[in-house]
Structure formats: C-alpha cells, structure tokens
Symmetry: C2
Subunit: 452 residues, 2 copies
C-alpha cells in the first residue's frame, strides 16, 4: 500500500506526551484558580456562522479568518473567545444572571504567517465579568488579583502587572487638544516600549501632525517617574482641567488601592501610562503583564474594561472587564526559556507493576487495589525480557516499579523499587501505597513553572 | 446600528452555565479515571491536511467532512480521534515508548443531517493502548474494566458491557462457508438488536445469497443462551473445526476471566455474539456498553481490538485496543432522561460575600482569605438594593452567603447564611470556612449521575 507521509500542519502545536503532561498541569491550575474567584466554566462552538462571528466586520483579523462553506452555510472558526462570549451573552441574555462571570479555555484560529513561536491554532484562557447596564469599578481591581494569583499558582515569580486607564489617556489628549487624533496617538504610544520615545515623537509629529511641544508634553506625562505614588501625584496636578481625565485618575487610584487589598503585592504591579492596548473597545482600566526577565516576549496576560460587549447583537448595554492569556504561545516560550519544572512526574503513571509469573491474577489485583487508593497504575503485560520491561519504566520516567514474583505472592508482600534512588524494599501492599503516595507528594511538591 | 441576530449553529451544543458545570464535572471524572489507569493525556490539532486525514479515503464519513481550503492548503476538521492518533503515532514513532497509552477528550466534526440529539460538533472521549508489533491480550481485558470504573465513578449503575470477539465470528463464518461474505454478514448481524432475527435472516438470504439453513445455524449460534458460562461452553463444542475460531474462543475466555480480576462484577458484563461493530478494522475483542433502562439509546461506549492502526502512514505493525465515549450525545441523553444530579453545587461559587458598608476593604480581605482556604468565593460589588443582592445568590444557587456589616467587622465575625436551610450564624472567619467546607462536602457527596 502506498503510504501518506504523516505530518502536522505548520503553525499547529502538537506536543509529545511528556510536555503535554506539563501543559495539562498548567490548564488544570488555570481552571482551579479561575474557579476560585467564582467564574463559571464556559464552552462555545469552534464554528460560528460567518454573519454572526464577523458582525463587527473589517479589521486586521478578517483576512486571517478560517472561513468556508458547508452546504449552504457560510461558516468561520472563532479567532478569539470574546466575540463568542458577546454572542452568548446577547443570545442567552434572559437566562443569565448578572454580573455574569465566566472563564473559558479554548482553541482559536488565526491564519497568520507561520513563524517560530507563532501559532495558527492556539489556546486562549480568558475570564470576563459582564454587567447588565453597569459594572462596579471594584471588578477592575479584582481582575489583576486573579492575574497575580494565577501566575503565582503556576510558580512564576518575576512578573509585573502594568495598569493604566483609557480615560486618563483620553482626558489628557483632550487637555492637549489631541482628541481627534486620539486613536492614532494611542496606537503610536502603544509602540513606545518597542521603538523608543524618539521614534514615537517622530511618528506623532510627521505622520499625525502633532506639534513638537505637545508631543514632548505627552511623552513627559506618560513617562512620569516615581512609581505608583509618583504617578498618582502627577495625575493630581492635572486635576480640574478635564472631566474624563478626572474620572480616569479617580478610577486608577481606586483600582491601585483595592488591588493591594485583593492581595497583589506592591512590587508586582505598577501604573504605566504608556499602556493603551491597541484594541478600540477598552474604555477604562487596561492591563498588561510582563515577565521581568523576558520583556522581549511582550505581555503574557492582557485585557481591560470595555463598555459595550455585544453592541453588534443587542441594544442592551453590557459593560465588562476581562483578561486573556495566550496559553499556547506562553507554553512555547516557557519551554524555550527553560521555565518548565522537569522534576515533577511527567510519566503517565506513578507506578508500574511488573508481573514475574505467568498467571497475571495477583498482578491484576495489585493494580486494582493501587488504583482504588488513587495511585495512577500501569500493569506491564507484554511478553518481553526483564531488561526491556524495566527499560520501559525508565524511558517513561515512571517513579516506582513493583515486582511481583512467586516469592512475593506467597509471602503476601510486594517488592517496590524507587527508580530515582534505586532503593528496593519488600513490604505489604498498604505500606507500598503509602510509600508511593509519600514519594509522589515529594516529587510533585513544586510548581509547574520554575522561576528563581 | 443594525444588529445581527445572535444564534448558534444547528447541531452545535452550547450549554447554559449550570449544565455546563455538570458537563465539566463529567469531563473531570473522565480525565481522572483515565489517568488512574496510566494513560497519557493527548491533544492534537482540530485541523489536519486533507491528504493526511483522508488517507484512508472513501467511506461513509467522507461526505460529512468539514473540508475547505485556506491559501494553498486543502484542510479538513477531524471527524474522530482515531485517525489523528494514527497520524501521531506514525509521525512520532521514534519518540514514543510502546505500549503507548493515551487518552484524549476533544471535539470532532461531522456534517450529519441535523436532528434532535444528533450533533455536528461533539466531544469524543477515547482511550487507546498501542503496541509495537505485538500487544498482549491482557489489554483487551483491562479496557472493559476502565469502562466499568468510568461509568461507576460517574454514578451510573444500571449498565452492562457486552463483549465479543471478531475471530470467533470470522472463524464461525469460515465453518459455515461464509468467509467471502463475512463483511456483509457482519454488518447485517450488527443490526440484530434493532431489526430482529427475522429481518436479519431475510437480508442474509435475499440480499447476500446465504442458504436458509446456514442463516438459521448462524442465528442460533449468535443467540446462544446461558450467559457467559453458556456461551463459553457452546464455543467449546465447535472447537477444532477452524483455527481462527479456536483462537478467538480462547481469547474470549481469557478476557472474560481476567475482566473479573480487573474488578468488573459478573452482573455488569456479558458475552454477546451478536456484536460485530460496523467498522472494518476490528480484529479481536469488541465492546459495546448498554444502559439497561434505555436500550434505545444504543451503545454509550464502544471499541475493540485492531491489528493495524496506522497502515496508511507506515509499514510498522501497530496493533491496539481502544474505546470511545460519544460524550456530547451521552450528556444530552442523560439530561433528557433526568439522570443528572441537580443536588450538587451548580453555582459558579460556594459562597457570596455581601458587603454592607461603603468601604470594601474588609469584604475584600474576607474574600481573599476564603479563596486561600480553597473556597470558591464571589464578592458582590454592585451598587444594588439588598433584595437584588440576595436575589443574585438565590438565582445562581450559591449555597452560602456571608453578610459583612459594620457590627460584624467591629466584632471580628462574619454572618453566614445557609441558603438552603435559611439558618444564619455569626461566627469567626475560620469557623465560617469550616462550616462552608463541611456544607459543600455534604452537598457534593453524590455523583454527577443519579441512577437508582
């Protein structure tokens, strides 16, 4: 038979088993952490009607969409989890209770140019709180505490959450007479970290006709030194010139204050007036999260406050606040940079039972008993030489092996080998279960990310 | 702005939040159970190159495939998890250790005619054990024990695992001189439960030219009474006439014997010689799982032994055994038939904190402390009347509410209300955490499926 060469599409992450175990561990931490903050899990289709998914139309993403027809239907694969959420909330409005808090971890699709570390199929892990008509500012302070809890639960330590407020920027633009150029100015400021102040100024002046002195004042403002306190003081000094600015400054102060009550340590966040977030729909607090040792990666968790989640589907005013982690890219980067904890068990089992007799009855019963006690157990049942059997445990990195021969069966014991230390003991099955439980607890005591 | 009507495609399951919690609980039980048996989690792309995915070509499924082009690429959405597994194992052969045990829970796509309870996007939950060249029969006995453990862990009680062996059928066909018609005969037998013995006979005789007496002997054989013992005895009586038959009979006996050692009670399985499974590639043991009170649903978990997983991709002989649960359909049926446990907490949180003061500091600290102790906590922060706030907890079914007013803050206590009993107590935060933990343990003590 002629063979087809098996291959995975370029830009699609397909992990080998051991890294997949690490990825699953990360997803489990995300699920547990998000749930701890009272968010519903949500799952929506990967395919939507193009008319619904692309209701907003235009935009940079449209040409990246996986769009096709099936029968008479014009269909598209989701390119983020926000549009499906907007659809969901608008469609099920009458059946939901607000504020509606949901998390979703799911794959999305963007046909970007394939390059190293960029993916066409990737997981996003999002949380959003959606209000009905109104949504209190407290939510904007709680969300960064979830970012903090999530990354520290994963084991990341050296990161910083950067916050800003779009009203502060918009208000300041108004003070400078830049309101009509606000969109262009914001998109330019967003590039500050990448291209530097000088280039930002050049673009502002040459491309968008901003006065040089105005550009200077703007740059001075957004680069205000002195940390959170310094910036809050600077904001105070502009007070009374513009209502939107004053409101934004007040929000930023409230968020910074409550964030600390929500448990975000002062050294893990900062106000950064350069953050605008490219997207048009943020209206209040915006967030980015930087890995301090890898600024080149860009933000690993971003989001913000928006006033109108579902305006393409409903007249209802649905304000919200949310964040998104680009999980596939994050996992790729963590792997590349050596952040993944290789000490934790990456094997598919905690113990491998090697039967040394022809009759498998005793081995099977041992496996069943260990599984009953919550130990992930494999029974090796292939007819192979001993060396091959033990090599199997070794290759997979299974931490414990139980040998079960005639002697052990007759004596009512099992021989347990700790594959790391090489130590071997003959003990009762109950003792073996305890030994394995304890050994695993020690082995898995760390966190999935190592960050020293 | 003109609005687009938000809608979900027909044939795509999109659950409301509370049922989604139940679905997640089921998926978590599946993940934990499969892991207990030493299976790796696996995740593969939803999109594959059509050339790779459809290597086998033809078949009933081809016209159901979601197939489209993106740029120059001819792409298809996966229609099961087996073909991607075959691709994965062939592609990564050198990097895997065999037997390779993996589970995968993921969405697959089939553009079937939409009808109630049939889905175009649905989850499959699969496990497979893949050998390199050989795979011991023990695996065929272990797999049904995983089916048993999975469904009992979910709470299902009244189900039966039906097993058969394709070699027994093929051997018996040879004995009856039906080898050349084996495919047609098997596909006809597969319909026995649906259409009855008489119609099966008619099809065999009229459509496939089987002698009436032969059809009678075949039907008598596959309907052998007497349960497992009776059938094993009947098989014994045909021994020595055909090698394949003898091998199959021996395998069936081994599997039946070891299944019991693996913990499957005798009343939860039976040998059923009518089971052939439509698919061509099964070569040994085959499984189906029936809900005793709902035979009309058909098998809720099926699978079997195959000799050549990846013949379209590689010359390597890769035998395996696996099962698949059609999770979306199963969930739909369980809901329709009232099997889902509505007693367990379906709210997004275990406790809701209602701050009764303007300053949120104390409420935020309480929320943070409860989350630290593992309690899923929501903080109600909207400016609403008390009635609306308590109504929020009520609508979501959050089991506990904590009121935090000036008095409580000053006394260093919290007021906890059990929403089900209506009881309210003022206690310390530690006591409250214990009360909530205990209350939840009781509330969630059951299993996700109720089957009395």
């Amino acid at each position: 038979m002629e063979k087809v060469k098996p291959r995975t599409l370029s830009g699609f992450m397909e992990l080998l088993p051991a890294p997949q175990v690490q990825m699953e561990r990360i997803m489990q931490v995300l699920r547990e952490t998000y749930a701890l903050y009272g968010f519903y899990p949500l799952d929506t289709p990967l395919i939507e009607s193009s008319e619904v998914l692309l209701a907003k139309g235009g935009g940079e993403t449209e040409k990246q969409i996986y769009r096709f027809t099936k029968g008479d239907s014009d269909l598209s694969l989701r390119f983020d989890l926000t549009v499906p959420l907007a659809k969901y909330v608008a469609q099920h409005y009458g059946e939901l209770t607000f504020p509606f808090r949901r998390f979703q971890i799911g794959k999305v699709y963007r046909g970007e140019r394939a390059q190293r570390g960029r993916f066409r199929e990737f997981y996003q892990a999002d949380i959003d709180v959606i209000g009905d008509g109104k949504l209190d500012i407290i939510n904007e302070a709680e969300v960064p505490s979830i970012i903090y809890k999530t990354f520290t639960s994963l084991g990341l330590q050296r990161f910083k959450i950067r916050i800003n407020n779009r009203k502060v920027l918009n208000g300041f633009f108004a003070i400078l007479g830049l309101t009509e150029k606000a969109g262009d100015v914001m998109r330019t400021i967003d590039k500050l970290e990448k291209i530097g102040a000088e280039k930002v100024k050049t673009i502002l002046v040459e491309d968008f006709g901003v006065e040089a002195a105005t550009a200077d004042e703007l740059l001075k403002f957004i680069e205000t030194p002195g940390g959170t306190e310094g910036i809050l003081a600077a904001l105070e000094s502009y007070k009374g010139k513009n209502e939107v600015f004053d409101l934004g400054a007040e929000e930023l102060k409230t968020v910074a204050t409550y964030m600390q009550a929500f448990g975000v340590p002062a050294d893990h966040f900062e106000i950064d007036l350069t953050i605008a977030r490219g997207l048009d729909y943020y209206t209040g607090t915006v967030y980015e999260t930087a890995m301090l040792d890898h600024p080149e990666i860009g933000s690993i968790c971003s989001g913000g406050r928006y006033d109108n989640l579902a305006e393409y589907y409903t007249d209802k005013q649905l304000p919200g606040v949310g964040i998104s982690i680009g999980l596939t890219r994050l996992f790729y980067v963590l792997g590349e940079q050596g952040y993944l904890n290789d000490q934790m068990n990456k094997a598919p089992a905690d113990v491998l039972i090697l039967p040394m007799t022809d009759d498998m009855g005793a081995a099977i019963k041992t496996a069943t008993a260990l599984r009953e006690s919550g130990i992930r157990t494999q029974l090796y049942s292939e007819q192979k030489k001993f060396k091959h059997k033990i090599g199997y445990a070794d290759k997979l990195g299974i931490p414990f092996v139980i040998f079960l021969g005639e002697d052990e069966i007759n004596a009512g014991v099992v021989a347990v080998k700790d594959m790391e230390s090489g130590e071997q003991v003959k003990i009762s099955l109950d003792e073996a279960a305890k030994l394995i439980h304890d050994g695993l607890a020690k082995k898995n005591a760390g966190k999935v990310i190592c960050d020293k």
